[in-house]
Amino acid sequence: NQALSRRYNSIFKRKEVCIKEW
Amino acid sequence: YDVNSKRLKCTDEADENLQTNVDQVNSLTAALIPETNPNFTPQPHEDISKLVKNLFDSGLKNAKQNKFPEALKNVSLAIEMAQRKRAPWEAFAVQLQELQFMLRHKIDLLLVLGKYLDALQDLDMLLNTGLVQPEVFIRKTDALLKLGRLDQARIECERGLSLQPQNTKLKALNLECARRLADFNG
């Protein structure tokens, strides 16, 4: 459950990286 | 250990793994303290389940009425609630299924509303949680095409096709990718 929660919470950072890279 | 807040804190030399572990212990503690039932079980909490279901259902209703922005808001809220309010010891299988179910609807709403990057993140989340199915790849290819990531779109499409070689939608998307890539490469 905690791992799931961590993965869910990383979405915001991932979005930022995608915007920067693309 | 801070006696007042009942939380552990890492020293500066702690590495990432230790920090993660400490965070887990802290959230477990924080969830245990307000728990009133001495015989708690992994069974999902009734109240929270009802709350989440209500939010989600209202989202679906909004969608049926073509009020997509509101639908998205409600479904997203439902997911937030599920993530935040549920205790860490509640059955993982149930939590996962609930999340996957809600995410799929959220993704469709995001795609309709043109929020392709958000949809892509949620699709990746679905894949990471083990939902490796052609439907996910159809949507991922679509989102990537709309974002202009043509190479990646083709790669995802091919992976989808390897799961279901006769899937018509994926075959159509494959042709679309090829066509757009041909133009992209002159």
């Binding site: 990383s10 990286v17 890279e21 693309w22 | 990432e16 190479d151 390897s162």
Partner: protein, 606 residues
């Protein structure tokens, strides 16, 4: 009990001579062959196409280099390629000089001459050649015995002379017997003298002065130093050097750091080139080269290189060049480890990082254009109405339009840019399949390999659909040799020429890295296959897409060279029949170009 040392220096020169000869002859042969034949093979210039491409790119590469880079490259190349004055060649020359000196010493040595005289040579005594027949020997003997017979001697000769002639006569008789009489002959053949075994002395071929009272402590000391200091030192140095580097050529500490990063990598984190550069900056190799600098320094240096900026506090360019040059082996090592951990994303981004470092271009959607020389970045980013990201798209425009798009006014510079752009190889997939040599299909538990037929083409050339190539051009030879080793076909291709990379600290060749992953779990299956041989002759063909309108009239498939890549599979086919899908990724290490990324189906049938 008593040892006879080589008092008169008769034996040790021969011993030394033999040793020298044993070492000098192979060394001389190998150095000579390297000197005369090494050049051509190394440059891969056997192929006309390769030569043309290399010539075109080398000239521009040279023009685009800045002075500091030129100085650095020259210094690096000199130390590597001084063929004439290398240590080995000097050793060979000194060795032969010693040899000549020894031969001279032997010639002048009286003691050796005296022993040589003592050797019994019947042929010389009789004055005949070694191949003389029995009749010649008989007639020679008769003539000489008449001349030297004691009874026939003149009375006027002195007693010494008489004794000498009598001795001669005895020797001649013995010589004759040695060649004719059976028993004497046997004696001669076995003992080297007709009278039977002569005195034989055994001794030690060391000059006596070495073991004399005065010199012997020195000799003992020399032995001591050699055995207890020099030898252990050399062995330990060699051992520690072997132990501290992995098979791939990176330091074990670096390898373990990479493994640590790979194992602790969170799938939620997106892999970027910046992340890979961060991992690289902690490499042990950098710390050994520049112990006074930190990881942050190295990271900044690599970023400066990629962005062609000067933000680092370290002003000495050679530091940057050496750091960047080292990245080649580090990235290969990381790629290998990433494939071992089966992480596809990291492997792919490692290869992207490779390109960024070789071309000194940051990873943007426009990297294909930015790697070209003379491009005005501002003008390009502001200008393009139609989104141009790829070289292929660039070449859909006329040269004059391209000069506007890229912001290049000078005609010579435009020519340079177009030359580079049109010589960057692109791969086009024609056919990919699983093959089992000698069988028509893949059966359960067989050992298939992936056979890829591709077309190397220039971004300037018109696209040729794969169907245009007849099956006959894609066929494999079916002889026994091919079945034994199907991968030999790749060895027949010429080495790839030196790349256009004026920002990389050394001349380098392009390579294609082939990765294989399973589609089911999207994980890499095996270590990468590096392809360094591929014919680029198609790049020299004039097939401009802006000019060719009709493939039916202007295209002859036989004019084009089909390239082959064969990738061995690290595991056998599954036991059950069915379809297994694999993803094959083939990326260039040096250029931003259209790399291959496709799916192949392994159809396992009974």
């Amino acid at each position: 009990q008593s040892y006879e040392y080589d008092e008169s220096s008769e034996t040790w020169p021969f011993f030394l001579l033999t040793l020298l000869f044993m070492v000098l002859v192979p060394l001389t042969v190998s150095q000579a062959s390297r000197l005369f034949f090494g050049q051509a093979v190394e440059n891969g210039e056997e192929n006309n196409g390769q030569r043309q491409v290399q010539k075109a790119l080398a000239r521009i590469d040279d023009e685009m280099m800045d002075e500091e880079m030129r100085t650095f490259r020259q210094a690096y190349q000199k130390s590597k390629k001084s063929k004439i004055w290398s240590k080995r060649n000097v050793m060979v020359v000194v060795g032969w000089a010693l040899f000549a000196a020894l031969v001279q010493r032997i010639r002048n040595s009286e003691a050796i001459e005296a022993s040589a005289i003592g050797v019994f040579d019947p042929y010389a005594l009789l004055g005949v050649t070694a191949s003389a027949s029995d009749r010649d020997i008989k007639s020679a003997y008769r003539k000489l015995s008449v001349k030297f017979h004691p009874d026939k001697l003149a009375k006027s000769l002195s007693s010494e002379e008489r004794a000498r002639i009598e001795e001669m006569y005895v020797q001649i008789s013995k010589a004759y017997e040695a060649l004719t009489d059976e028993i004497t002959k046997a004696n001669y053949l076995t003992y080297g003298h007709p009278d039977g075994p002569q005195t034989v002395s055994h001794g030690i071929a060391i000059p006596s002065f070495l073991v004399d009272r005065a010199a012997s402590p020195v000799v003992v000391l020399a032995y001591l130093v050699l055995l207890s200091i020099v030898l252990p030192y050399l062995v330990s140095k060699w051992w520690s050097r072997t132990r501290s580097f992995t098979k791939k050529g990176i330091h074990v500490k670096t390898a373990s750091h990479f493994v640590d990063r790979l194992v602790n990598y969170k799938p939620s984190e997106i892999v970027t080139v910046d992340l890979i550069v961060k991992w690289l900056s902690d490499a042990e190799e950098f710390k050994i080269l520049f112990p006074q600098l930190t990881s942050a320094d190295f990271e900044q240096l690599i970023h400066d290189h990629i962005n062609r900026a000067e933000n680092s506090t370290i002003k000495d360019k050679t530091v940057r060049f050496r750091v960047v040059g080292k990245c080649h082996s580090l990235l290969h090592g990381l790629l290998d480890l990433a494939c071992g951990i089966r992480n596809t994303e990291i492997a792919i981004v490692t290869l992207e990082t490779f390109k960024c470092i070789v071309q000194a271009v940051p990873p943007t959607p426009y990297s294909q254009i930015m790697q070209l020389p003379n491009v005005d970045k501002q003008k390009f980013l502001q200008g393009s109405v139609d989104e141009i990201h790829t070289l292929g798209k660039l070449f859909t425009y006329k040269d004059e339009e391209i000069s506007k798009i890229l912001g290049i006014d000078d005609e010579h510079k435009l020519k340079q840019t177009l030359a580079v752009a049109s010589n960057i190889p692109q791969l086009k997939l024609i056919k990919a399949e699983f093959l089992v040599p000698g069988e028509s299909q893949v059966s359960p538990s067989s050992t298939p390999h992936i056979s890829i037929k591709l077309l190397v083409r220039s971004p300037q050339q018109k696209n040729i659909p794969p169907e245009r190539f007849p099956e006959s051009m894609l066929e494999e030879p079916q002889d026994f040799e091919f079945q034994q080793n199907p991968f030999n076909i790749m060895e027949t291709e010429p080495l790839m020429p030196y790349s256009y990379a004026p920002f990389f600290p050394s001349k380098r060749r392009n390579a294609f890295c082939c990765l294989v992953a399973l589609q089911k779990d999207a994980k890499i299956l095996q270590t990468p296959v590096i392809v360094q041989r591929m014919s680029l002759e198609n790049l020299t063909k004039n097939f401009d897409k802006r000019e060719i309108k009709d493939l039916d009239t202007d295209f002859t498939p036989e004019d084009w060279k089909i390239g082959t890549i064969k990738i061995p599979l690290g595991q056998p086919a599954p036991d059950e029949t069915g379809d297994v899908y694999f993803r094959v990724i083939i990326k260039s290490t040096d250029y931003f170009t259209t790399d291959l990324d496709f799916t192949v189906n392994m159809q396992v049938r009974d």
